[in-house]
Amino acid sequence: MRTPKTFSLSKPTMKHPFTYSLLYLFILLLLACHSKPTDVTQKDELPDIYPDYVGVTIPVGIAPLNFSMTDDEVETIDVEVKGSKGGSIHANGSFADFDIDEWHQLLEENKGGTLTLTVCAEKDGRWTGYRDFQIMVSSEELDAWGITYRRIPPSYEIYSKMGIYQRDLSNFHERALLENTQTPNQCINCHTANRTNPDQYVLHVRGQHSTTMIHRDGQDELLKGKNDSLGGSMVYPYWHPGGRYCAFSTNKTSQMFHTANVKRIEVYDNESDVFIYDTQTHTVLKDTLTMKLLWAENTPAFSPDGKWLYYTTALRQLYPPGYDKECYSLCRVSFDEHTGRLGTQVDTLINGQSSMVNGQSSMVNGQSSMVNGQSSKSVTWPRPSYDGRYLMYTQVDYGYFSIWHPEADLWLLDLNTGETRALDEVNSDCAESLHSWSSNSRWFLFNSRRDDGLYSRIYLSMMGKDGRATKPFMLPQRNPKEFYRQLLYSYNTPDFTSRPVNCNARQIGRNIESDLRTDTKVEVYE
C-alpha cells in the first residue's frame, strides 16, 4: 500500500526551497491583509473601545492613540481619522495601529482643532459602523519630552523585579533607567526630579545596600539609607526650585490587612516628620515645627517660588482601632532659602479634622471658608502647579497612602481664591493619586486604578485656563489592550521629564553595591 504524501510545516525539507518560500510569502500576505468594511450595518451608538479615548483632549506630539474594540470577538477594526483643519489617516487590523509619522503630521496640521474618528468593526464576518467621535487636539504645548515612573508588582512582604523607567511620549519607546536586577534583592523607589529637570533628581534604594541617591551637577551623591539622627530613612522628597534644598519626610511605615473588605490593606506610619536636606553642605535641617511629637508630618512640597513649604500633618492615632480617624490637614510654613530656615507660623490651608487645628494659625489669605464641608477627610500628596495658581492634592477618607483607597480622588485648590473642589472631570470610583504637573502647568498626569481595580495606570489630562480639566486619556501603547492585559506591574510615582534622563545604570549599580556613602551633618532648630 502506498503511503500518501504528507505536507508538514514542522519538518520542511530543503528539496523545494522555492515552494516553501512561496508558501511563507503567502502566509505573510494572509497575515498582512485584513478585510475591508462591506455591507456595514450602522449603529447609533459610540464604539466601545479600549482605552476609552472618546472625547479626550491630547497635546500635539503625543504618541498615536491606538485602540481596540473592548469585545474580544471583534476580528477586524477599520478606523478613518479626519482632521477638522485637513488631513486624514487610516488604520485597519486587529487593532487600530496608526503610523507614527502620519499621526504626528495630522496632529500638527490640526493643532487647536479636532479629529473625527469613524470606526467600523467586523465580528463573525459582519461589519458594524458606529457613531463618529472626536478627539480634541490642544493648542497647549505638552512641554515635556516624556515621563518617568517606577513599575512595581503588587507585593506586601517582599519585593521582586522593579525598576525606574523613562518613556518617550511621542512614541512607544521605553528605556530602563535603573532596574533592581542591577542591585539584586533591593527595592528602588521614588525617582523625583526637580521640576521635570532630568539633571537633578533623587531616588532611594532599600535593602542591604540602602541609600538615598542625589544626582546634581552631573554627580551622584549617595547618602546613608538610614540616618540615625533622623531615626529612619529619607522617604517622600520634593525639590526646592533653587535646586540646593530638598524636603523629605521620614516615615516609619507599617501595614495591616483587612479580612473582608473592598480595601485590602491599610498602610500607615507609626511616626513621620518633615525635614530639609541641604545638598551643598550635606546638612539635614530639622525643625521642631515639622517634627512634633504626637503629630505625623508628611508629604512635603515647595511652592514654585520656593518661599513656602507645603506639607500634611495629622494627630497620630492608635492602630488598629484608630485607623480610620487619622486625617491629615494641609499646612504651609514659610521658607527662607538664604538661611535654609523655616518660618515660625504654620498656616492650615485645608483642615483634615476641625479639632486638629486648635492652636494653629489662620487659613491662607485669611479665608477660613476654605475648610467648610471638608472635615473628617484627609489630604495627601500636595503638588502645587509650577505657575503657582493651583495646588492639586489627593483626598481620602483617612490616612495618606491613597493608592489603596478606592475613594481617593484628585482635588484642586485655587491658591488665588482659596476655593477647593473635587476634580470630578478626571476622578473615578477607583483610586486616583500620585499626580504631577508638566513644567508649563497646562498638563498633568496621575495614577488611577480604574482599569481593573488593582493595577495602577497612568492617565494624562489638560488643565484649562478656566480651571476645568479635560477628560483624561490613558498612556498610549502600541497595542494597549494586549499590553495592559499582560502587564503585571503597577505604574508608580510618574512625573514628566523635559528631556531624556541620562544615567549610567551600571555605574549606579556599582556605586550602590560599594557602600561608600557621603557623611551628613544635622542641625536642629527649636
Binding site: Y159, S160, Q255, T259, G453, G509
Partner: protein
C-alpha cells in the same frame, strides 16, 4: 538502569522538588516571553528549561522528564568520551559517562538551582559533539571561536565547556569567553558577578524556595491529601506546616470547626516575636512567610478557611519570593479564584487572558470564562460559592 533509577527517585522520594519548580514559572506561548529571555545571556537555556518545567505540574511527568534528561546527558557524555579518548576501554568510558548525569542529578536536588544550567550543559555538550566531528583542527578552532559567543549568549557560562574542544588553544578561547562575559555586563542590567555565575543558574540568596518539609506539605495540600499530611508530619517544624496539619485534622474529621479555629488562631503573646505573624482581631494566625512554599501554603489554607484577602496577599507574596523574578501560573490561578470569590471580575479576566497562553491551565481558563460572563454559574462550583457567601458575611477585622 539509569533511567529507572532516576524515575523512581523523583517519583517516590522527592516528587515535590519538580512540583516546586513548576510553581515558580509562568511559561507563556507568546513572543514577548521568548524575547524577554533571549535578551539575556543564557536566555535560550532558561526558556527551554522553563518550557520543560511546566510539565512538572504532575510529579509523574517530573520523574519521566528527569529520567530522559539524565539519560541524554549520559549518551552525550559517552559520545564525547569516544571522541576525546577513543583508546580508553568501553567499560571505563561508560563509567566516566555517568559522572555528568550524576552531577546534574545532584544539582537538581537543590531547589534553588533551576533547570537552566542542566539544559545549558546539555546544549553545550550537543554543540561539542557536533564540533568534535570535524576532522580538521583548524576548522574546529574556527567553529569553536564562532560558537563561543553564540553559545554563551544562548546558554550562559556553560559555554566554557566548549573551550575543551581545542585544548591547545584554551588561552585564546577562554579569553574570548571572558570578553563575552565582560561585554555582556554592559548590555544587560545585571552585575558582572551574577553574569559570570550565570544569570539564571543559581537562585541562592535572600529568597528561598522553602524547606523540604514545606515543599512536600504544599504538594500534599495541592493534592488535597489530608491523610498524607497527617502521616508525613507528626511533629512539624515550620509554622506553615503546623497550620496545615491542624487543617488536615479538621478536614479528616479529627477535630471540629471550633477546635480548628481555636488551634489555628492563637493568642497574640505566644508568637509576638515572630516575623509576619497574622492577627485576626486580637488573635494571631500561626503562619508566616519566608519562602515560596510557605507562602503558597498560607494562600491555600486561607482560601480553604474562607479568608480570600489573606489568600490574595499570600499568592502575591509567593510570586515575589520566586528568586529569579518569574511569575507563577499556580499563583495566578489562585489569584483568579480569589477574584471570582470577591467579585473582582475585571481583574479575573486579566489573569485568565494571561493563563490562556499556558499549556496546562488553558483548559481551566475555558471553564472559568463563562463564570465571569454569568456570575450565577458559580452554583456549579460549590466551594467557590460557599467561599463567596462566607466572604460576604464575614466581619472585617485586621490581620498584621
Amino acid at each position: 538502569m539509569l533511567a529507572i533509577s532516576v524515575f523512581c527517585f523523583w517519583l517516590f522520594l522527592y516528587p515535590f522538588i519538580p512540583v516546586v519548580r513548576e510553581m515558580s514559572i509562568l511559561f507563556l506561548w507568546n513572543t514577548d516571553y521568548l524575547m524577554e529571555r533571549l535578551a539575556i545571556p543564557g536566555g535560550l537555556a532558561q526558556y527551554l528549561g522553563e518550557g520543560v518545567a511546566q510539565f512538572f505540574v504532575n510529579p509523574f511527568n517530573g520523574a519521566i522528564i528527569y529520567a530522559v534528561l539524565f539519560v541524554v546527558a549520559q549518551l552525550l557524555s559517552m559520545k564525547l568520551l569516544r571522541q576525546f579518548f577513543p583508546t580508553i576501554k568501553k567499560q571505563y568510558q561508560f563509567v566516566l559517562s555517568l559522572i555528568p548525569p550524576i552531577v546534574l542529578w545532584g544539582l537538581a536536588m537543590l531547589p534553588h538551582v533551576p533547570l537552566t544550567p542542566t539544559v545549558a550543559v546539555l546544549l553545550v555538550m550537543g554543540a561539542g559533539c557536533w564540533m568534535m566531528g570535524s576532522t580538521s583542527k583548524k576548522t574546529r578552532l574556527v567553529a569553536v571561536c564562532v560558537s563561543i559567543p553564540v553559545m554563551y549568549w544562548l546558554t550562559g557560562p556553560a559555554a566554557i565547556l566548549l573551550t575543551l574542544c581545542c585544548i591547545r588553544w584554551i588561552p585564546l578561547t577562554a579569553t574570548l569567553l571572558a570578553a563575552c562575559l565582560i561585554g555582556s555586563s554592559y548590555l544587560v542590567p545585571y552585575p558582572l558577578e551574577q553574569i559570570a555565575r550565570g544569570i539564571d543558574y543559581d537562585w541562592s540568596g535572600v529568597k528561598e524556595m522553602g524547606t523540604y518539609e514545606e515543599m512536600e506539605c504544599d504538594m500534599l495540600i495541592r493534592q488535597k491529601d489530608w491523610k498524607g499530611i497527617l502521616q508525613r508530619f507528626p511533629s512539624p517544624v515550620s509554622p506553615a506546616v503546623r497550620s496545615a496539619v491542624i487543617l488536615a485534622s479538621y478536614q479528616s474529621g479529627i477535630i471540629n470547626y471550633q477546635q480548628l479555629m481555636s488551634q489555628i488562631v492563637v493568642p497574640v503573646d505566644r508568637y509576638e516575636n515572630k516575623p509576619s505573624v497574622f492577627c485576626v482581631g486580637d488573635m494571631h494566625f500561626i503562619v508566616y512567610f519566608g519562602s515560596v512554599s510557605s507562602a503558597f501554603i498560607v494562600s491555600d489554607l486561607s482560601t480553604l478557611l474562607g479568608w480570600p484577602n489573606i489568600a490574595q496577599r499570600a499568592a502575591f507574596d509567593a510570586m515575589e519570593y520566586i528568586p529569579n523574578h518569574n511569575k507563577s501560573a499556580r499563583a495566578m490561578k489562585q489569584l483568579t479564584e480569589v477574584c471570582i470569590i470577591t467579585g473582582q471580575y475585571t481583574l479575573a479576566r486579566k489573569y485568565l487572558s494571561i493563563l490562556e497562553n499556558t499549556t496546562f491551565y488553558r483548559e481551566w481558563v475555558q471553564k472559568m470564562r463563562p463564570l465571569l460572563d454569568n456570575p450565577k454559574l458559580i452554583e456549579k462550583y460549590p466551594f467557590m460559592k460557599e467561599s463567596q457567601e462566607k466572604y460576604a458575611n464575614t466581619e472585617d477585622v485586621f490581620f498584621i
